[in-house]
């Protein structure tokens, strides 16, 4: 039983690290600002929580697990909010899309 939980935890860490590297590569290679918001959302909402869930499964039930649950709660609350605020500020500032600039 403990072996199964350890394998699931290591699998979660592996998938989470792959998603974070893909997200960073996406921010580097996407052509426009508004298209770069999507990999940032992947890092905030899917990559980091998967890694933290994997660590939580590896350490077992202790005070560290409860603190990681609190960290996950804050990350779900503040990560997508910051990305949305950035997108709205860029739009209200008059930043043009890639298709609108090519006229």
């Amino acid at each position: 039983m403990e072996e199964i939980i350890r394998y699931i935890g290591e699998g979660c860490i592996g998938i989470g690290i792959f998603l974070m590297v893909t997200g960073a590569l996406g921010i580097l290679r996407m052509p426009d600002f508004y298209t770069r918001l999507h990999p940032a959302g992947i890092i905030d909402a899917l990559g980091a929580p998967l890694v933290l869930t994997g660590i939580m499964l590896l350490t077992g039930a202790s005070l560290l697990s409860w603190k990681i649950i609190i960290l996950l709660f804050f990350m779900f609350l503040t990560g997508p909010t910051a990305t949305h605020a950035l997108a709205k500020a860029a739009f209200l500032d008059g930043k043009k899309r890639m298709e609108d600039k090519q006229k």
Partner: protein
């Protein structure tokens, strides 16, 4: 073994984000890169705490998660009212 590969992957991802923070054609791109860099820092601190078999690093990660969010919103309000 898995933790070592994970830490190396996070460091590679941070290097890619720093390239975007230096190149980026507008300041919105740079704010985006620094915000994601902060999320990577939080994951790196928790991984290092597990690597060193110490349970005291998670508090620093909690504090830095909140600092990252407040810093991003503060930069956005500064650029909004400067115009």
């Amino acid at each position: 073994m898995v933790i070592t590969i994970a830490i190396l992957g996070i460091l590679l991802s941070m290097a890619l984000l720093m390239v975007r923070a230096f190149i980026g054609k507008s300041y919105f791109d740079r704010i985006l890169a620094v915000n994601s860099f902060g999320t990577h820092i939080v994951v790196l601190i928790v991984l290092m705490g597990f690597f060193k078999k110490t349970e005291f690093f998670i508090d620093i990660a909690l504090i830095y998660g909140l600092i990252n969010f407040i810093t991003t919103v503060a930069f956005l309000r500064y650029f909004k009212f400067r115009r």
